[in-house]
Subunit: 339 residues, 2 copies
């Protein structure tokens, strides 16, 4: 048996914001799995900023994606054929499926998904990598204490929107940096953040952060880097903790552009700041505990989440570009098929 | 009673390297102490980089020194008059004495010095702030483990020369970055560092660091910042620790110059690096323990130190400028009087 497949391939490297011109739709046929392999009908694809780095012509330590290959992306779907002992036809499974209708992958790289825990799409977001990144970055590294001012950027996004709510549960005063009214209303309204800073508003971002954080910043979880990172440094408190989660501001630099900025070394000394780089994979042994606690908070109504869902495989390039804008809130997904 | 005093005053702010033109010798008379005050005959003055920051026209968070005041500087000397209960005539005392023959200071700001522990000059160096900074930055923050590659810059200076030896005692492989043959011979010969990098040598500093650290860098204690900091980042290992102690490379910037460089945020994320700013004052409750351990190591011959001593108060500007060069090793002092 085989499956008629559509695939979206990367056809040129990007400088600046990624757009539809870097991708092309191709037709293919997905063959039967060989020993150890599984064919998954893709249901949802997760749109994440990190793959943007792999779309650059220069790699800078991040593995570069070859041209004319299927664009990478995590997804969840349903097994339609399996020659792997852990998966049977009809099972839900998540992993690196890529932008396509059918993914032929090694079963060892898939994880099973329990559809009774919630909508299967959540295994890509709040009950998946985004929620886990929020959970471990906040509870293991940032560790906000009651009364602390906790500041986070990309605050309406899938990771920070959860991290801010976890910081609230720990008793911190939570301030988010986001762009535009849609995102600001979301974090201060639905999510209950104590204050918000609009990085797109006219005026000085440094002053705006100071106004939103009158007692300075005790914990800063940074997904953006760049000019926002710099502006926060003017308000960092003695003995503050800075958790580095992403540098979205730099992901769209060209291959010859260096991400330059003021050095903050002297500030970090005089304030005795601790800075820690975070990758969620370091906590893989504890994913089960994290998912259980996140699922509990969601059931109890303590943590809210949203998904922004684009429809159809062909919407992937547009959804991906939208990640770097300020129109969406929560987890950005593409629904490829109703599985 | 009163004392004829000579004082060296700051008469202009500096841009770039500090020189003799920023200072002027003035004559004054030191009066009798009032209640709580002490007059100290200055013996040795300590030359330290940090006051350079207070000689700049723009402050950037560091308190600026007013013009026409006595240049600040730590020192040790002998009490010639006291109206403070903790100090009697003839006692040795250390504190912020300034560049002058006689210092009229509050006794509360002085600490007594026991001259039987060693030459009194060591209370300004290896058995004083420099040694304590080396001790606590290495044992509390850097914490090199056996087999780690421990890298330190300004390696022939008063802090790093001791820190590197402490890292050796803990079983690390110790590499120092310094400038010129005098400094390199000192750290690899007398101090027993395993390798050295000459930042003044022709060729690429990044490659030189890589050659000296073939297994990468596990602990980097940084007193310099700037281009040396950047070069080390290309060799930093996963889960490395970076301790920020000073940014000597930036101390001579002009008031309108911003210390710019490449951002290392993405490297720090992908390598999950921990960076911590260090000020020795955070460990003041444990100074006694630190001094006892340092003194023990010196007695046992496990830690060597050197002093570079200029003679006479009028040599202060020259000695201070020399801090930013590469001709001296160990603690830079000026002997003002034989006390």
């Amino acid at each position: 048996m085989s499956w008629p497949n559509r695939q979206i391939k990367l056809v040129s490297y990007a400088e600046g914001l990624p757009g539809e011109e870097h991708f092309a739709l191709a037709k293919a046929t997905t063959p039967d799995p060989r020993e150890g392999e599984v064919v998954v009908r893709v249901g949802y694809l997760s749109m994440d900023p990190f793959p943007r780095l792999q779309m650059s012509g220069s790699a800078d330590g991040v593995p570069q994606l070859p041209l004319d290959t299927v664009m990478i992306g995590r997804g969840v779907g349903r097994v339609v054929a399996s020659r792997h002992p852990d998966f049977n036809e009809g099972d839900y499974a998540a992993g690196d499926l890529g932008w396509q209708d059918y993914a032929l992958v090694s079963g060892d790289g898939l994880r099973p998904v329990d559809p009774t825990l919630g909508p299967v799409s959540t295994c890509l977001g709040v009950l998946g990598p985004s929620g886990l990144a929020a959970y471990f970055s906040t509870t293991k590294l940032g560790q906000p204490q009651p009364g602390d001012t906790f500041l986070i950027d990309a605050a309406a996004g899938s990771v920070a929107s959860i991290a801010g709510q976890i910081a609230k549960l720990r008793g911190a005063r939570v301030v988010g940096i986001a762009g535009g009214d849609v995102q600001l209303d979301y974090i201060t309204g639905e999510l209950g953040f104590d204050a918000a800073v609009d990085y797109k508003a006219p005026g000085d971002i440094t002053e705006a952060i100071g106004a939103a954080c009158p007692e300075g910043v005790d914990v800063f979880q940074d997904l953006v880097g760049g000019a926002i990172h710099d502006a926060v440094m003017d308000h960092i408190n003695p003995h503050a903790t800075i958790v580095l989660i992403g540098t979205i501001a730099s992901y769209n630099l060209g291959p010859d552009e260096v991400d330059m900025g003021p050095r903050h070394l002297l500030t970090w000394i005089t304030k005795r700041v601790t800075i820690r780089g975070f990758l969620v994979g370091d906590f893989s042994d504890e994913y089960g505990d994290g998912l259980r606690e996140l699922a509990g908070w969601i059931r109890e109504g303590k943590i809210a989440y949203r998904e922004t869902v684009f429809s159809g495989l062909e919407a992937c390039p547009q959804a991906f570009a939208g990640l770097f804008g300020s129109e969406h809130v929560g987890k950005m997904l593409v629904e490829v098929a109703d599985v």
